[in-house]
């Protein structure tokens, strides 16, 4: 399996990258981690004439946290760096957890957080918790920047809001409330190195009485063309005293919202069932964790 011949460019600054993108246009593909792109090239599904490797651009990588302001994660930050980051674990636990469930250790050391979103696979791991934490993305070009919620950037299966000449350069996560907890769960064929049938993230915060839900957000992955935010869970639980019955009711409601399909990995029927199971489990787990904060 040989790839087609192509020209390789490794810009060192954002300016160089934008200049190349402007000059090469649709002939070029962006190389981030390569765990998807190189495989597609080896399979000859895509045959780009040029590759622009953006991994040598310092401005596009790294995890920066500023208390009170939140976190900025560069698009070419490796998944493993997010998985192991103490500050990510502390502030955005569900994101670190989801990062640790991507592929294998090798894939996590190669793959990038930007690639995981730009690839726009519905079964991707990190977009689910990122959306749950209210992440926005910054899309940059030679002429400026645009910022939008991640759930708008991802438009559908392999479809993202990126125009020619634009690059996803960073993710911005708002500072979480000190009492907010985030949890992530997934179901797959085995425990590691698989592609999720369904994945899910919940963020939840309780009032001072440790019983009443102050805020809750549940996001589902792999059951729609893009990350799906449950409006029913927020409506059913906000302002209510948490109970197992309420969690079961909310979980049932998520099953009405999910629009899973049947594919090589799982049937729509199975996914539908699992949505309810994961939602119930996650809501209870998040509630338990929020009581401990």
């Amino acid at each position: 399996m040989f790839m087609n011949q192509f020209e390789y460019f490794a810009p060192k600054t954002p300016g160089e990258a934008f200049e190349l993108m402007g000059r090469l246009g649709s002939k070029a593909r962006i190389l981030a981690g390569g765990t998807e792109l190189v495989i597609l090239m080896k399979d000859r599904i895509i045959r780009p004439e040029c590759l622009i490797d953006i991994n040598n651009i310092e401005e596009f990588k790294g995890i920066k946290y500023e208390p009170g302001k939140g976190m900025v994660i560069g698009a070419t930050t490796k998944i493993a760096d997010i998985q192991y980051s103490e500050i990510v674990k502390r502030k955005y636990y569900a994101l670190a957890d989801a990062a640790g469930e991507i592929g294998s250790s090798q894939v996590r050391h190669m793959g990038t957080i930007g690639g995981n979103s730009c690839n726009a696979s519905p079964s991707a791991e990190t977009p689910t918790p990122l959306v749950a934490y209210g992440a926005t993305v910054v899309v940059s070009s030679a002429t400026g920047e645009r910022e939008m919620p991640l759930e708008e950037f991802i438009q559908g299966v392999r479809m993202i809001d990126l125009k020619e000449g634009e690059l996803l350069t960073k993710f911005k996560l708002p500072e979480p409330s000190p009492k907010l907890v985030g949890r992530y769960a997934y179901m797959g064929a085995r425990d590691a190195n698989e592609i999720d049938f369904v994945n899910m993230a919940v963020t939840l915060e309780l009032e001072d009485d440790k019983q009443t839900v102050k805020s809750v957000k549940l996001v589902m992955g792999s059951v729609f063309i893009k990350p799906l935010i449950s409006t029913a869970v927020t409506a059913l639980l906000t302002g209510q005293k948490f109970s197992d019955e309420l969690a079961a009711k909310a979980a049932e409601a998520t099953q009405g919202e999910a629009k899973p399909i049947t594919d090589v990995r799982a049937s729509a029927e199975y996914r539908h069932e699992i949505v309810g199971v994961l939602a119930r489990r996650l809501l209870k787990e998040a509630f338990g964790a929020a009581q401990e904060v």
Binding site: T35, I39, K42, D53, G103, S105, V107
Partner: protein, 160 residues
């Protein structure tokens, strides 16, 4: 069109002419001549081609060699100590019987090296989780996991 790149493999610098489409596994095996690194699936699933780039385990069969220009690479040939003595991880694999046909072994060793460098005392879960990208079709993994546990103990005793 070939371009000259510099790869520092196991402490020695190699200047290699590569085409942008050449993957690191092929360059290491065919151009540099270090055939310890294996190519299994060629699609990033089996882990046989694992090498360390800047100390991190990566899949050399889906890494373009040109992206490693100027970087430090460690292959299985770089594990043994300069006097020829086996690395504690290699010794543990041999002593625990964690090798049968041997094809997955170089990748297993490099993943284990990457794991123990970051986490010298991994739990059983850590070992299983972090080694899940390396597939062995002979041993059933049990002895591989045990070997990594033994290596972790030996290495933390400071015996090298």
């Amino acid at each position: 069109m070939k371009q000259l790149i510099k790869l520092e493999i196991n402490g020695r610098v190699y200047d290699v002419p590569v085409s942008p489409r050449d993957v690191l596994a092929d360059v290491i095996r065919k151009k540099v001549g270090l055939t310890g690194t294996k190519k299994g699936c060629g699609m990033g699933d089996c882990g046989a081609c694992t090498v360390l780039v800047e100390g991190k385990p990566i899949l050399s069969c889906i890494t373009l060699a040109i992206t490693c220009n100027g970087k430090k690479i460690t292959t299985v040939e770089g594990l043994a100590l300069p006097d020829g003595q086996m690395h504690p991880i290699q010794e543990a694999f041999v002593n625990q019987g964690a090798i049968q046909c041997g094809f997955c072994t170089p990748g297993m060793l490099m993943s284990a090296k990457g794991l123990l460098a970051r986490n010298p005392k991994p739990s059983l879960y850590d070992i299983k989780h972090e080694m899940s990208g390396n597939i062995c079709r002979c041993t059933g993994f049990k002895r591989i996991i045990e070997a990594i546990e033994v290596a972790s103990e030996t290495m933390s005793e400071g015996v090298k």
